[in-house]
Structure formats: C-alpha cells, structure tokens
Amino acid sequence: MITDSRPAAPAPPRLRREVRHAGLVAALVLLALVGLVTRPDNFATSANLVGVLALASTIGVITVGMTFVIIGGGIDLSVGALMALASVWATTLATQSYGPAVMVLCAILVGTGAGLVNGLLISYGRLVPFIATLAMLVAARGLAQRMSDRRTQLVRPENDAIEALSTGRILGLPPVVFVFAAVAAAGWVLLNRTTFGRRTFAVGGNPEAARLAGIDVRRHTLLLYALSGLCCGIAAIIIMARTTTGSSTHGDLYELDAIAAVIIGGTLLTGGRGSLVGSILGVLVFTLITNLFILNGLQTSDQLIAKGAIIVAAVLLQRRGLRTPT
C-alpha cells in the first residue's frame, strides 16, 4: 500500500517470470556443458538428444495437465496411477482385438473418465483435492492390477502401429516427441490465450472472487481434473509405444516427478500463478540429469540427491523472486 502514485515501483510480475525462466534455461545450459565436457562423443549426438526428448515425453505430457491443476489451486496425486490404468485398459485382450485406433481412444477415455471422477469428487463432493486424488491413486492402481492380473500386458504384433509411434521417424524424430510438443503447445495456448486459461488463474488465485465475478468455479475445477486425466491418457499411449506394454507398474511416483517439475518451473503450489513453459523446462532439466548420470555411469541414488537439491534451490530462488514490500 505504499506504492500509490510513485514512479519507481517493483518490477511487474511478468518481468519476474522471464527471470525465473532464465534460471531454468541457465540450468539446462549448464547441464549441457557438463554433458559436453564429460561425454563429448556421446552427449551432443542427435540420437542422444532425440532420446532425451522421447524419454521426457511421458512425464512431460502429464506435467502439462498437472500445471493446469496446480495453477487452478488444486493438486492431482493420481496421475501416475491413471496412466497405468489407461495403459492396462488399452492393452487388454478385448481392447486389443479392435485394433490400435480403439486402443488409443480407450486410453484417452479411461484417463479423461477417471479425471472426471476426480473432478466430481472435488468440485461437487467437496473433497479436498489431496484426499480425493490420493484415493484415486490407490483405487486406480488396484483396478489396474486387477484388470491385468498383475501381469505385464504386451501390445500384440498386429497392433504394432502403437509401437511405431516410438520407433518410427517423422523429420528424424519419433512421433511421440511430436505428441509431446503438440500437447505442450496446445496447453500453452489454452493457458495463455483462451478464456479457459484466464479462468484457471482466477479460480486458483481467489476462488471466491472468481465465483462472485460470475465464473462457475465448480464446473471449471471439474474440467481441470478432466484435463489432467486426458493428459494421463495421452501419456499412457506414449508409454505403451515406448515399452510395448500396458502395466499396473507404469508411472510409479510420476505424481511426485510432475509436481516437482511444476514447482521448479515457477508455479506456486498454492495456485493462481504459474507458467507452462517453466514446467516443460523443469521436465527437461530432470530428464537431462538422468541422462547425464547414466552417460557417466553414476548411480541412480545420486540422481535422486541431485534432483532433491535442485527442487530446494528452485523453490528458494522462487521465494526470492516473490519477495515484495507490503
């Protein structure tokens, strides 16, 4: 309240967001330099970089949905389980007998449907998002295990169109990378250029104000979780393409990876403020770390330490960026 009609003022939020992205871009550049120095022959090959993008595509697509949910003031813990369920449902014998198009449709419908259930529980059942999606996490994994009889379900040879999403090449890149790029681009447009995105910020920033401004907050919340579910369904297609399987073990702890990527991307966990570009950069940072560690033959346990350190560092930086006088 001290800044009334004064010329010098703290930087507007938009500028700060650019700075935050600059930090992530710097982190990516730093990681790339590490890669170039430690493994000059292996890191900067097109095969490796394509591989990193392909690996980032499953968690990346899920993170797009998670970004919407978190900006909208919620949280979705069920993403990994929903992906597993969608992958299992899409690879049952019955589904597979209808061919790859139906498998894709099945994964999308299962993901979106389960997301809708999340949304209904939260917006109309008035459950806390943490609890509703935690319940969905447990239940969806259970259902996936029951449907698959705890087996890994292979994509049958006649449905190898699914696998081709990962083995094929368009302009030198596997189709799953284009799927990821398309979801990310569509997500960016939806968040930054449409009324849906604007309402998402409003609902997450101040739900009461949004309601009194005439926004149907409950319906919007419902749609956010359905959107997250849809992303899980798309991610299920990618994981089916990459592993040629559907399994109840897919997507283990994805919820934590996705939330971590969203947070280091500069989105507030309390909602109302955030950036999709940051989330995508966050996913790439994490994927690149894994890649660098394996290229250098280091243990996965060390990767976890590095990831933890990055999350803490990012959140500390974020807080500095947000500090303003009152």
């Binding site: 292996n42 095969a47 490796n48 087996r151 990459r242 399987t245 399994s247 073990t249 897919h250 290229l295």
Partner: protein
C-alpha cells in the same frame, strides 16, 4: 556361496518340465484364459495317494510376474494330489499381516507349511513357532536365518544366475573373437542383496574368460524403468558387444528401447526365464538366451511339503527322508533348448 554343479540337485527344471507340457502359456493368448502355471506329476511311487495332509501356504502379494507365478504354481501342484488339502492365506506385502496369517495356519494345525516370507529375518520367529509346534516348514526362496525354523529350504541361486549369464556371454564373445568387448549390465533394484549376488556371479564368471563389465546401471524390475535405463545406456555406449539384463520383466522395456534406438550390433541375455523372453529367443532376435530363476520352485516346494508331511523320502535319492536344502540350478535357455523350457516359462 558355492557354485552348484550344473547337474547337481536338478529338481525344478527338467523334472517339472516333463510333466507340465500340458499347461500351456496364456497371458496374451486369446485361446486360453486360464492362469499359467507349472506343476508336475513326476514319477514313481510317491505319486500314489498317501495319508491325507493339509498344506498351508503363505506368500507376498504379487507385484511382479514372478511372485504371481509362485502362488499359481503352488496351487496348481496341490490340485494334482487327491490327498492334499491346500490352504493358502491371503497374500500380503505387510510383515505383520503375514505373521498373523501364518499364526492362523499354525492354530489350524496344518500338516506342513510352505512359506515364502516377505522378509526372512522378520518371519523367522513365527516359522520357528510352527516348527516347535511340530509343523514342518518348507522355506521357499527367501531363507530364514535360523536353521531350526525350517525343515527344508528350496530356492534359486542368484549368484548362479550371474555365473550362467557370465559364462554364456564369455563363450559367445570368445567364439566371435572379440578382443576388448563392451559388456553392459542392467540390474534390478540395486539395494537388494539378490541383485548384488547376481552382479558378483556375472563379474566372477566373466573374469574366467578374461573379460569385465564395462558399465552397469540399475532399473527397478519394471518395464518402464527398464526402458528408461536402457534408452540412456545405449546412448552412453555407441558400440556394445553384449548386454545382460537381470530380469525378463523389465527386459520387455529394454528390448523396446533397443528397437527404438535401432541398435543391432550386440546380443542380449535375460534373467529369470519368462515365457515372453523364451518366445523372443525362439524367434531369434537380439535376445539370445536367458538364465532361469524359475518360480516352478513353488510347485516343487508343495511336492516336498507333501512328502515331508507323509514321512516319505524322494524316490530318486537313496535317503528315506527329503533333503534339508535344495538349491535350484540356474539354467541357460537358448534357441537350441528353448522348446523344452517354454512350458515352465512364466508369464510376466
């Protein structure tokens, strides 16, 4: 741990295979939706009905194809005997629940127990209680530390798996005349002792051929982690000569990653012996062999439990009672012998 000779106590593999051809593999086979299981009739007098016995069974809940196969195999084997009543308790991954489940079997006064504990250390006490109550315990795979806690242990040989894989890789590379081979190993969960034993056996066997592991990385026994680790590892090494993957479940993901990277210059050896891996071997791709750690051991355990409860010995041995310890050999399945192993391959 001593390396068992290849023809040592060969109880699981071949003997089981002989009788089990009938139970075909299923999973993605639409013609047959019955659960896959390996069990065996075996031969000799022991197959004739004896005194009726009740065999209690407790194992962890399945989170992996291998564990799922264990329970199925035990059940299927018990069904073969008219003189066996099979009492399986609800599988669980909770130590406390498993303890109380075993206690309920003890108070139900079963004639023998087959136990695959979640943790050998933590279930030792309750197994000991069963033995003290006069109920013989057949300990499956994860061993109890106290020998008074079980009558017979039957399990696989993790070190032996590594050795079998190491020898196969060593011999094939020698045949090919590769001088300085790049050998890559994809482990399961790195912190588990069984993973460390497998890796040690692999390294030891390679050493006898004058080779060593170039790089190893751990996955988590799941298809997805296998795919992820392999995808990165393939980029770390542009030319590979041989790859050993500890686990055929995660191997599905490894094979997918290899295909996605378009790599063909090396051969791969699997582990555990899933039906899917065997079909790949038969088809003749990159996956040339797999070394078994067969869940058929559960069927054998039920067989042994029945004999112990009825006071009978194993007819192929001279002794009048069943042995105290049976370590299954890790067998190498290749294109040449895959047909005889396919029936005992488990669906992952």
């Amino acid at each position: 741990m001593p390396i068992p000779s290849r023809r040592g106590v060969l109880f699981g593999g071949a003997a089981v295979a002989a009788g089990a051809l009938a139970t075909a593999c299923t999973g993605n086979d639409p013609a047959d939706d019955a659960p896959a299981a390996q069990s065996a009739a075996g031969g000799g007098d022991n197959e004739k009905p004896g005194r009726p016995v009740t065999i209690g069974f407790s194992a962890p809940a399945a989170d992996h194809g291998w564990i799922a196969a264990i329970t199925k195999n035990a059940q299927a084997q018990a069904k073969r005997y008219s003189d066996v009543t099979f009492r399986a308790v609800e599988p669980t991954n909770d130590i406390n629940q498993q303890i109380s489940a075993v206690e309920s079997l003890i108070s139900a006064k079963v004639n023998a127990l087959v136990l695959l504990p979640n943790d050998g250390q933590q279930l030792n006490q309750v197994a000991r209680k069963a033995m003290d109550a006069g109920i013989p315990v057949v300990n499956l795979d994860r061993i109890f530390p106290d020998k008074l806690s079980y009558r017979t242990w039957i399990g696989g040989d993790n070190y032996g798996m590594g050795v079998a894989a190491g020898h196969y890789v060593g011999r094939r590379l020698k045949e090919k005349g590769v001088a300085k081979p790049v050998i890559v190993e994809i482990q399961g969960i790195a912190t588990l002792p069984l993973t460390q034993e497998r890796s040690k056996g692999f390294a030891d066997a390679l050493k006898t051929h004058g080779f060593s592991v170039t790089a190893k990385q751990d996955a988590k026994f799941t298809v997805e982690t296998g795919n992820q680790v392999a995808a990165n590892l393939l980029q770390a090494h542009k030319k590979i000569d041989a790859l050993w993957n500890h686990d055929d479940d995660q191997g599905v993901g490894v094979l997918a990653a290899i295909k996605q990277a378009g790599r063909k210059e090396f051969f791969m050896v699997g582990g555990a012996g899933s039906a899917n891996a065997m079909r790949e071997i038969k088809a003749g791709g990159l996956l040339e062999a797999t070394v078994t750690y067969s869940p058929s051991m559960a069927a054998s355990a039920v067989k042994v439990a029945r004999l112990v409860a009825q006071g009978r010995g194993m007819t192929d041995l001279v002794e009048l009672q069943a042995p105290q310890s049976i370590t299954l050999a890790s067998e190498t399945v290749t294109r040449q012998n895959v047909d005889s192993y396919l029936p005992i391959g488990f669906e992952s």
